[in-house]
């Protein structure tokens, strides 16, 4: 009956019906079946691109981070090395106590010693929670020593004082010959050392 009903229609109508019967289901199937897969593929490709880009960026960030870590390690190493240049408070006390002993050992006669007031060197605190009453991280302490010695004794005295890992700075040195004994020199020297008040500044933890 279906075919007979169609047979009664003009040929143009029959062709149109056939075309519609193909085109509409095709369009519907395409939009319901193919399009979702196409969109999924497109999304997957975009995700692949983004993931690839992210991976590349991740690699770059990783490389940069590794470089920075190495740089940090070097800095830490340098910081640790620089730590040796500083006295701790007990070491500083010991140093000042030993000045007279060292001078005697090197043939120098200490006439007088006067200690200078401390200078404070502020380091940027690791955290903002710095205690208001807490001493600064590095302080310098100086001592002015008047002594009498020969030129060689002065050399030995200087060598002995500075022969240590810590930094012993000679801020001022004056040697004057005494008229009655040209070999004996009247000397005045100002020694400055740097004391670490807070050892945590040499760590970066």
């Amino acid at each position: 009956m279906f075919f007979e009903s169609l047979a009664k229609l003009p040929q143009v109508t029959r062709i149109a019906i056939s075309a519609v019967a193909v085109i509409i289901p095709t369009a519907v199937c395409y939009s319901w079946i193919v399009v979702p897969h196409t969109k999924y593929l497109s999304a997957t490709q975009q995700y692949e691109f983004v993931a690839g880009d992210l991976a590349r960026k991740g690699q770059i960030i990783k490389s940069k981070t590794n470089l920075k870590k190495r740089e940090l390690q070097e800095l830490q190493q340098r910081l640790i090395q620089s730590r040796e240049k500083f006295f701790t408070l007990p070491e500083a006390q010991k140093f000042f106590r030993e000045i007279e002993v060292v001078s005697n050992q090197t043939g120098c006669t200490v006439l007088s010693m006067s200690f200078l007031s401390s200078s404070k060197y502020g380091l940027k605190p690791k955290s903002d929670k710095e205690t208001p009453g807490k001493a600064p991280s590095i302080i310098s302490n100086g001592v002015v020593v008047n002594f009498a010695a020969t030129y060689e004794s002065v050399m030995a005295f200087m060598a002995k004082l500075q022969d240590r890992p810590q930094k012993v700075a000679v801020d001022m040195l004056e040697m004057t010959s005494i008229g009655y004994n040209p070999r004996i020199l009247q000397c005045e020297a100002t020694f400055t050392i740097f004391i670490i008040n807070d050892k945590e500044i040499f760590t970066n933890e």
Partner: protein, 524 residues
């Protein structure tokens, strides 16, 4: 364009006869023939009563014999039907179809409406003309009944025509063609019905149907009526047709219902002593037709062969009538269109399925790539890594600032090798030079004061001092002569080497010996 294969379906009162022909280069070849019984009650009084059963039987016969043809023709199964020669008036009507239709409508045995009819022009004395037409008509419903039934079982008809027309077509090549000097009378016997056709000088000229009342036998009333009809036709031509050749041939196409066909032939020849009488039987189809390679032609219906021949290209009597309506014929094209549509739709579906498969495959590959990228890439999230990088950067900044401050502290005017500086000064001091005072402040300069015997000694002393790696340059700040003892007072200012000052205080220290300081002498 002629289709290569054609199937003819002849349905008699008790049998279904099939003939499958194929047109080759050499001619028409009978591929297969078959016959089978009619379903009980399928045909009653020459009309189809059970079209579904009949179509099923035909389909089964076709399927059993594996017959496949592009064109199918079936014999007309409708009673009453009209097969008549119509003479046109002298004034030929402009619309011949309308004229023929109105003539057919006046046939008492046919319905006025719903009429299926077809006609074709008839040749006159070997020339085609439009003055006479051969018309066939029947009730349309009866024609389309079998067409629909067959269509439902997958057999789409191309033509429907009376069996007698098909029989004359089958016999045309051997019994009718080239008979220019005689009339050929074809008597087609189907049970009790006889169809008489006359071909005058090989042109169709006359048709008549006669119901003999009973099955034809070599003798008896039916035979006598048969002889009587033939004699009447011959007499009609001898008297009423002026240009009749006068010479006759009779061809009796008999079906299986005729008993003792040989005796029937003998009787005919006895009755018509001076006339050539030929019997065409199902067993002699190969002799009576122009089929080639007809070894399979035994017991093939002549009408079925003629029906199959209708859709093939061959010379015949030009009796081209087809009672199948255009709508019924359109069903086949509609089916073809539907098949084409279905094929296109199926192709589209397959393409879509393949596309979806390909898309999925591609998506899977992309997903695998993403997965492998994720596996190859950093395990942690990029955001965490950026955070870590930021933290490390902050730590670096913090450490750098600390180091900078520490370096600044350590680099402030500090000399760590005072013993060596003093040693160099002592070694540089000539014998004629006496140092009375040495002063250094802020670790950048050393001022040496003393007495000398001569200026040369002072200059030598200054020059020698510059050779020290701890002294950059020396400047003779001042000289003066003591009038009392004649000694020369001098003052030399030494600029200490910067590198030396920084050597120990800087973390990145350099050996003083490796960095030779520049020396210059200023003043005398």
């Amino acid at each position: 364009m002629v289709d290569k294969t054609s199937l003819g379906i002849d349905i008699s009162s008790d049998k279904i006869n099939l003939a499958l022909l194929r047109q080759g280069k050499d001619g028409i070849k009978l591929l297969k023939s078959a016959s089978g019984p009619l379903p009980d009650g399928a045909i009653v009084d020459g009309n189809i009563k059970e079209p579904v059963a009949l179509a099923g039987a035909i389909k089964k016969l076709v399927s059993d014999n594996k017959m496949r043809a592009k064109k199918i023709t079936i014999s007309l199964l409708a009673k009453p039907f009209l097969a008549q020669v119509i003479d046109l008036p002298k004034r030929v009507p402009s619309n011949i179809g309308q004229y023929v239709h109105s003539e057919v409508k006046h046939c008492a045995v046919l319905p006025v409406k719903n009429l299926a009819f077809d006609y074709c022009g008839m040749a006159l004395s070997g020339r085609l003309g439009n003055s006479r037409f051969f018309v066939v008509a029947a009730e349309n419903e009866k024609v389309t009944l079998i067409a629909r039934a067959l269509s439902r079982v997958g057999l789409d008809l191309d033509a429907v025509e009376p069996a007698v027309v098909a029989t004359t077509r089958a016999l045309y090549a051997k019994k009718i063609a080239k008979k220019f000097d005689s009339n050929v009378l074809i008597a087609v016997v189907q049970n009790a019905t006889v169809s008489f056709c006359v071909f005058r000088r090989q042109v169709f000229d006359f048709i008549r149907f006669k119901d003999l009342g009973q099955t034809l036998k070599p003798s008896g009333p039916a035979f006598e009526r048969f002889i009587e009809q033939i004699n009447a036709i011959i007499q009609f031509y001898d008297i009423d047709v002026t240009d009749s050749p006068g010479c006759w041939e009779i061809v009796a196409a008999l079906d299986d219902s005729v008993e003792s066909a040989d005796k029937f032939g003998e009787s005919l020849r006895t009755v018509f002593g001076g006339i050539d009488v030929h019997l065409s039987l199902p067993q002699t189809v190969c002799e009576d037709t122009d089929l080639i390679g007809s070894s399979k032609a035994e017991n093939t219906s002549l009408a079925a062969v003629g029906l199959a021949m209708k859709m093939l290209k061959r010379p015949d009597a030009d009796l081209q009538v087809n009672l199948l309506s255009q709508e019924a014929a359109n069903v086949k094209s509609v089916k073809k269109l539907a098949l084409l549509t279905a094929n296109i739709a199926a192709t589209v579906v397959i393409i879509m399925i393949l596309s979806v498969g390909l898309l999925n495959l591609k998506a899977e590959r992309v997903s695998d790539n993403v997965l492998s990228q994720q596996q190859k890439g950093p395990s942690r999230e990029t955001q965490e890594m950026m955070k870590e990088q930021s933290i490390v950067s902050l730590q670096i900044t913090d450490l750098s600032e600390k180091l900078q401050t520490i370096n600044e502290i350590l680099e402030l005017n500090r000399i760590s090798d005072w013993d060596k500086i003093l040693e160099d000064i002592r070694h540089s001091t000539p014998k004629s030079i006496c140092i009375t005072r040495l002063l250094s402040q802020k670790g950048s300069t050393v001022t040496i004061e003393g007495q000398a015997l001569s200026y040369e000694g002072i200059n030598l002393f200054a020059d020698t001092l510059t050779k020290s790696s701890y002294i950059d340059s020396t400047t003779l700040a001042g000289t003066g002569k003591n009038d009392v003892d004649g000694l020369i007072m001098y003052s030399i200012s030494c600029s200490l080497a910067k590198e030396t000052r920084l050597s120990d205080s800087s973390v990145q220290s350099a050996s003083p010996k490796q960095k030779a300081p520049s020396r210059s002498r200023k003043g005398t």
